[in-house]
Symmetry: C2
Subunit: 332 residues, 2 copies
């Protein structure tokens, strides 16, 4: 490619096809006013020249950015959450006119900042983010602004587009598994309580242990955002106390690995002194030894749904119709 290469514009297509620039623009936009023959001629000329519309010009003129913005939380909560989510989003967005841009807010920062910035400066046509809180200010802000968005996770606010994993069912299912193995003193390592998904998980845990009238330990001070060695330390201390749990529910692989380390280091035997059920998001954990009893969550599927939903919402679909709750899938 010579450095003098100049991208063909509509003007070039117009000259090549013998029509006016306006006609080219309409034809390429499939305007029904344009005669079919004309449309074909122009399409051919455009293809021959390798014409691709200039995004900046389109964006300037129409105000539409053809961008969807992914706002990521600080790194490190779920192993490979971002990678899987991105993979799902990218797959759906590929082949459309949309691009994905990335923003990641620092741990200290206000999560509202990137959202506000993107909306105020029209940096995208729609937003994706995860880890919602019941009364999430980001969601409220976007609803008020009338800005298209989708979330991974529900809220208690007015209806919007979301995808979520049924963490209540996950916790219930996990309790059933442990109960079925004869476990009667269960404990869950809850994600940070401020997230909606954590509340659902806790609800599921509480109702399931209540139904069986067994002990359900729900420590307050655990936090998925906690570095894993903090989970290790806290759990280890708990396991050394009297009346330690004999069944443990982990909301993710990091918690599972941390827990197994604490169990192992205390000389407890998995499957004898204690059983563990964990949420699994990565296939490689099938190969973990000792085997971890898991329940699957598919983050990539979430990304796919969210991308599709957002594109639909941008094109006018009602957010209330764009909701999906993924059911837990048994690990094995």
């Amino acid at each position: 490619m010579p450095s003098t290469y100049q991208k063909p514009t509509q003007k070039d297509v117009a000259e090549a096809s013998g029509f006016a620039v306006t006609t080219v623009s309409r034809a390429l936009a499939d305007d029904p006013l344009i005669a079919e023959k004309t449309r074909e001629k122009i399409a051919k000329a455009a293809a021959d020249l390798g014409y691709v519309p200039d995004r900046a010009a389109q964006r300037l003129r129409t105000g539409r950015t053809n961008v969807i913005a992914l706002v990521l939380d600080p790194h490190g909560e779920i192993l490979d959450f971002s990678g899987s989510m991105i993979s799902g989003l990218a797959e759906v967005v590929r082949g459309t006119k949309y691009h994905i841009t990335l923003t990641q807010h620092q741990s200290g920062e206000d999560p509202m900042d990137p959202i506000r910035h993107i909306v105020r400066n029209r940096l995208a046509d729609g937003l994706v983010f995860a880890r919602t809180e019941p009364d999430d200010p980001r969601v409220q802000f976007l609803i008020d602004a009338g800005f298209p968005f989708v979330t991974h996770g529900r809220t208690s606010l007015a209806s919007h587009a979301w995808y979520d994993y049924d963490n209540e069912a996950f916790a219930r299912m996990a309790v059933e598994r442990l109960y079925g193995k004869g476990r009667r003193r269960l404990m869950i390592i809850p994600p940070s309580a401020r997230y909606t998904f954590s509340k659902h998980m806790i609800t599921g845990f509480k109702t399931a242990v209540a139904r069986h009238r067994i002990a359900g330990d729900l420590p307050e001070d655990f936090d998925l955002n906690t570095p894993s060695n903090a989970i290790y330390t806290k759990l280890r201390k708990r396991l050394e106390q009297d009346n330690r749990p004999d069944g443990l529910i982990c909301p993710g692989e990091i918690a599972a690995i941390s827990s197994l380390a604490a169990i192992d280091d205390l000389g407890l035997r998995l499957g004898e002194d204690i059983d563990v059920v964990a949420k699994q998001t990565s296939p490689v954990f099938d190969l973990h030894r000792p085997r971890i009893d898991t329940i699957h969550e598919d983050i990539e599927a979430a990304g796919q749904f969210l991308a599709r939903a957002l594109l639909q919402e941008i094109n006018g679909a009602a957010p209330a119709t764009l909701q999906n709750l993924q059911q837990p899938r048994p690990g094995y």
Copy 2:
């Protein structure tokens, strides 16, 4: 925010400050021709109005996109590679005028496609990608096109900006560890041989085992892109053969987990029948039990370096000065 909200433009700043639009433009660009007093007045007016330049207009006029494009390989090679890389990139890019866009090519597709597309259509000012091959066509294309880019991984091509992990040193170090433990029949699970980093790793492995005059098994048919259960299957078969290795080197956590599963399922004892050294990219693996002997690679640091390097290259720095080789850091 009312839906009638209109972003302030330079025109608004011009009216508010009493200067012409052109002057505003120059002042905000810190043009030295503008008087200091004027610059201050305009800066104040812009700040008061909350003026933010319109990216589309700037891009259309200047041809600069203020975008750096991250081209990701198909998902799933290294656990959380994308997430860590993105985190590093995003941290450096935050606060600059640049945005990050994402492209991920499908496993079947030509890796050149997204690169060509981005360059031909001026979709970014610079490119980041990983997993280079010695004679990487993407690198050659970009050098020929004079398009700024940085890679995670070296090539044998003309000098360009890169960041790499010293996989030769990694392999040597891993061999030394195993040798120190009395292991004399070593084996490495090599990443797909077409990547530069794999060749380096193999070189390091070969030279180190040759120095000690010990056996070095280098199976041809392993592949990091292989689903982990394929690694498991192949390794398991190998461990069942005569003269099985007593020291194993894993290029990543997925390979390590798969290997440990094969070892465990065959009833071999880690630390007795065989020792494993693995590359570690995620802190949580410190908590893996049994403990895995690891050597660290910091992907986030790679992302940070690459972002800084790319921004410098876009601003005219010579690519040859933007190279860094990360040294392996012992796990414990």
